[in-house]
């Protein structure tokens, strides 16, 4: 029963997980592993979710933390929990290929260049989270969030001007 509830939560938030995996892993094989790792961590914490924070805030926190740890892990490919061949969350058909969307490709290229913490910040910002929520997920002040966003804006402007 709990597993069914979990699957439905994942179904409702699969976009978020997909975007985080895509931003932290450019390699498709690693992306599959990261996706699996995020789902395992979400499942492990599922029973501990007490509703004190929004469900999406909770998912962001766990998914981003897992992605950062995965990215920083010194032996990321040696400790796969379960061996699976296919992606759990994938594009259902090829009617939409994000790589063909020029702006999205450029944006992902830009995100790829950022460090792990800035990546988390920009993803939360692009997903239209409020500054208060971003501050809560990251653990920094709202003023700091605002300052960092304006710094990233400047860099981004430069990058798009150069392209």
């Amino acid at each position: 029963m709990e597993k069914e509830k979990f699957i439905s939560v994942i179904k409702d938030n699969q976009n978020l997980i997909y975007k985080i995996c895509y931003s932290y892993c450019s390699n498709a094989e690693n992306r599959k592993d990261l996706q699996q790792e995020i789902l395992i961590q979400l499942w492990n914490s599922f029973s501990k979710f007490d509703g004190r924070v929004k469900l999406s805030t909770w998912i962001y926190r766990i998914a981003l933390n897992t992605a950062i740890s995965f990215y920083r892990n010194d032996s990321k490919h040696s400790d796969k929990k379960v061996s699976i061949d296919a992606s759990i969350i994938s594009l259902s058909n090829f009617e939409y290929v994000p790589e063909q969307d020029e702006n999205i490709t450029m944006l992902y290229q830009f995100i790829e260049k950022l460090n792990e913490m800035d990546k988390a910040l920009i993803l939360l910002y692009l997903d239209d989270n409020k500054q208060k929520d971003i501050a809560e997920v990251l653990g920094i002040s709202e003023t700091n969030v605002a300052t960092k966003i304006s710094r990233i804006k400047k860099i981004l402007k430069e990058q798009f001007r150069n392209n």
């Binding site: 179904k11 699969q14 914490s45 926190r61 933390n65 950062i68 379960v82 759990i88 994938s90």
Partner: protein
């Protein structure tokens, strides 16, 4: 393009993803998710075993040292061995404490990453001590363990003892240095650098 414009491009992308993403429920059901809970506790389990094993060994060494305290040639190695093992046990207790303090599911990203990397830092530095102290431990423990466990006095066989010391020093130290440099040094540097990055990120700009 401004970041605000990209936000609307991103929103459209999100909409397209909603229409095209598919969750493989069958695969998710098949994943042995319960198994991973046990695997998560493995480092803590390892430290608990190290503390218990280390404490038992320490008690044995201390009692043997007390038993032979009237002979300086056993007292001194006994004290050195006890100090080394005490530091090993202390390091394991510190790692255990750090591990149990990690709040995986209710911490902000900064908090969690800081605790994970503080643990990594502690792990790597205690590994360095463990590796570098193994040859000294072997040299010091041999006389006291020999006499306490098998009533074997190594000082009556000076050639064997000297060969043991020389081998520990010649093979042991370069070996431990090689292991540390190749397996742990980079990890220690990574953890230190990331902790610096996190502090930098936390600072108001």
């Amino acid at each position: 393009m401004e970041l605000e414009e990209l936000k609307s491009v991103w929103a459209q992308y999100d909409k397209k993803l909603s229409q095209n993403l598919k969750l493989n429920e069958e695969l998710l059901r098949k994943m042995n998710l319960e198994k991973s809970k046990k695997e998560m506790n493995a480092p803590l389990f390892y430290e608990i075993i190290s503390v218990i094993g280390g404490a038992i060994f320490l008690m044995f060494i201390v009692s043997a040292t007390i038993r032979y305290s009237y002979e300086l040639e056993f007292l001194l190695p006994g004290i050195i061995t006890s100090i080394i093992v005490s530091i090993w046990v202390y390091n394991s207790i510190s790692k255990m404490k750090l591990l149990t303090n990690i709040e995986y599911y209710n911490s902000s990203i900064i908090e969690l990453q800081k605790s994970i990397n503080t643990f990594k830092l502690k792990y790597q530095t205690s590994k360095k001590f463990e590796l570098y102290s193994i040859p000294a431990f072997a040299i010091a423990a041999f006389p006291i363990l020999g006499i306490a466990m098998r009533n074997f006095d190594i000082y009556e066989h000076p050639i064997r003892f000297i060969v043991g010391i020389v081998l520990s020093l010649i093979l042991g130290y370069p070996g431990q240095i090689w292991i540390y440099k190749n397996l742990y040094e980079k990890k220690l540097k990574n953890a230190t650098n990331f902790l610096d990055e996190l502090s930098q990120f936390e600072k108001e700009e």
